[in-house]
């Protein structure tokens, strides 16, 4: 396997790109089949705190139980986390299973030793392992672009730098989607022809619901103004309870 290293360019060669394209199609098929076979419409991520015990866990579990209790058409949702041991990725999935919701775990293949495995844990129903990066050590965080591409919505409870990476990636995606929708709406309003493929390609933002009062990244997101126009992808005013988060997510997704 040789890659293109001509002059000053390092690039995946055509063979690797073809191989990747095959893997991407296969991954998308697997996700589609999983959603179809379970009659699911939405993928909802739980992101945030990595604490595995203590008051934070008790509080977050309480918020999530209330959230799932109040989520309209709950049977239409799959719940996604990192699918790994410890913190919200673990107890978020366990709680989703208690509510009979199908689960998805996304993590770097290089970190698979941290995944929820039997016999000690119940693994996610669908696992997506992301490939290594092409320079340096592949660590948690490298899966973020794929993690975010899968989503329709996300709830944020506390969370450190990994959570900030995920939330910022969601907001970057939303900025692009909101801009595209506004550009097309403006053209349509002025009677300009718009390529139907572009209209078909529009996607709603990933609804991002930080729960204020849970600390760190969630509080940063809930209390500071967005850096860019991200439309109505975040609650305004901020939400503070699982019930309010459920109302926000249910109403936005039902509309989209």
């Amino acid at each position: 396997m040789r890659q293109i290293m001509e002059g000053g360019i390092i690039s995946p060669n055509t063979h690797l790109q073809a191989e990747l394209e095959g893997l991407r199609r296969e991954t998308e098929d697997r996700v589609r089949d999983f959603l179809t076979n379970n009659s699911l419409y939405y993928i909802l991520a739980l992101i945030g705190d990595s604490d595995s015990e203590g008051e934070v866990v008790v509080r977050n579990r309480g918020i999530l139980e209330e959230f799932f209790d109040h989520l309209s058409d709950r049977h239409l949702y799959a719940v996604q986390t990192g699918g790994t041991e410890g913190g919200l990725p673990q107890y978020g999935l366990e709680l989703a299973k208690e509510f009979d919701l199908p689960t998805i775990g996304v993590y770097p293949a290089a970190s698979s030793k941290y995944a929820l495995h039997e016999p000690h844990h119940t693994p996610a129903d669908l696992v997506v392992e992301t490939p290594d990066i092409i320079y340096g050590k592949t660590t948690f965080g490298s899966e973020t672009p794929v993690f975010v591409n899968l989503l329709d919505a996300a709830v944020v409870l506390g969370g450190g730098y990994g959570t900030r990476t995920e939330a910022s990636t969601i907001l970057k995606v939303n900025k692009g989607r909101v801009r595209d929708a506004r550009t097309i709406a403006k053209k349509q309003a002025s009677g300009e022809d718009v390529d139907p493929a572009k209209i078909a390609g529009l996607r709603p933002p990933v609804y991002l619901c930080p729960i204020e009062g849970t600390g760190k990244t969630a509080d940063e997101l809930a209390t500071s103004a967005p850096l860019e126009d991200v439309g109505d992808s975040m609650p305004d005013p901020a939400v503070r309870t699982g019930e309010e988060a459920a109302q926000f997510i249910s109403s936005r997704l039902a509309r989209s």
């Binding site: 396997m1 890659q3 290293m5 000053g8 360019i9 390092i10 690039s11 995946p12 063979h15 690797l16 790109q17 191989e19 990747l20 394209e21 095959g22 893997l23 991407r24 296969e26 991954t27 998308e28 697997r30 996700v31 293949a109 997506v128 392992e129 992301t130 490939p131 290594d132 990066i133 092409i134 320079y135 340096g136 050590k137 592949t138 660590t139 948690f140 965080g141 490298s142 973020t144 672009p145 794929v146 591409n149 899968l150 450190g160 730098y161 990994g162 900030r164 990476t165 910022s168 990636t169 907001l171 970057k172 995606v173 900025k175 692009g176 760190k216 940063e220 500071s224 850096l227 860019e228």
Partner: protein, 237 residues
């Protein structure tokens, strides 16, 4: 071929690309006697006033670096904002330039490419957009100067801080292990708004060691950024 075998095969080939990329970057830096890689990250806007301010900051930064030739300048290699002017001014200073971007985002590339361009593979689900290259971009950097910036910059700096947390933890566990990697030194320029000012003002959740200037708001000029970077990543004499 099963999905698992397909994934394993791809992983094996990516590993070959990783090894080759690392070897190529090492050789490239060696040939040019560049010791450190400094990322310039921030505003992507081409607003004329912002551009003037950022040009001045970057020129001030490069002109106060001791032995600038020992620092390679890393950007996304695109044709707007800090990325564009950073690479252009680095070329004027005869500094080595490196770009990292997703292979499928070539349409945003500047017409005169950086001296070395690393194109990262697509993601395995959904559309590949800018930020897919961030894990690679961040791993190439020894230090970073942050000027304003939006969500892309926020992602890059968050990944740097996550990496710095684990490097700092490793250092605390074994302070005498000289093989441990140093943190990525992050220098937000205070007063340049948005992400740079967020980094200056926000509370740190965890101990990241000395990866920021102390105090964090102390660097307001290119000269200050050069002093910080030079103190943490001193040139070889």
């Amino acid at each position: 071929m099963s999905y698992e075998s397909q994934a394993e095969e791809y992983r094996r080939h990516t590993e070959a690309l990783r090894q080759a990329t690392e070897a190529r970057v090492r050789t490239f830096l060696g040939e040019r006697s560049a010791t450190f890689v400094i990322a310039l990250t921030g505003d992507s806007s081409d607003d004329p006033l912002l551009r003037l301010r950022n040009e001045h900051l970057i020129e001030d930064f490069f002109s106060h670096l001791e032995e600038p030739a020992q620092y390679a300048v890393l950007t996304s290699g695109t044709r707007s904002g800090v990325s564009y002017i950073g690479t252009s001014i680095a070329k004027e200073f005869d500094m080595t330039t490196i770009g990292v971007r997703p292979a499928s985002c070539g349409k945003y590339a500047r017409s005169d490419p950086p001296d070395l361009l690393i194109e990262t593979p697509d993601v395995i689900y959904g559309r590949t957009t800018f930020s897919a290259e961030t894990p690679t971009f961040v791993n190439v950097a020894d230090g970073a100067v942050v000027i304003g910036g939006s969500y892309g910059t926020l992602i890059e700096t968050a990944v740097m801080m996550k990496i710095n947390k684990s490097r700092h933890d490793a250092h605390i566990r074994d302070p005498h292990d000289s093989s441990l990697k140093k943190p990525i030194y992050i220098c937000p320029i205070a007063g340049t708004d948005r992400v740079a000012d967020l980094l200056v003002g926000m509370p740190l959740y965890e101990d990241l060691g000395d990866c920021f200037p102390t105090p964090r708001h102390s660097v307001e000029t290119g000269m200050g950024a050069a002093a910080f970077i030079t103190s943490k990543l001193p040139p070889l004499h």
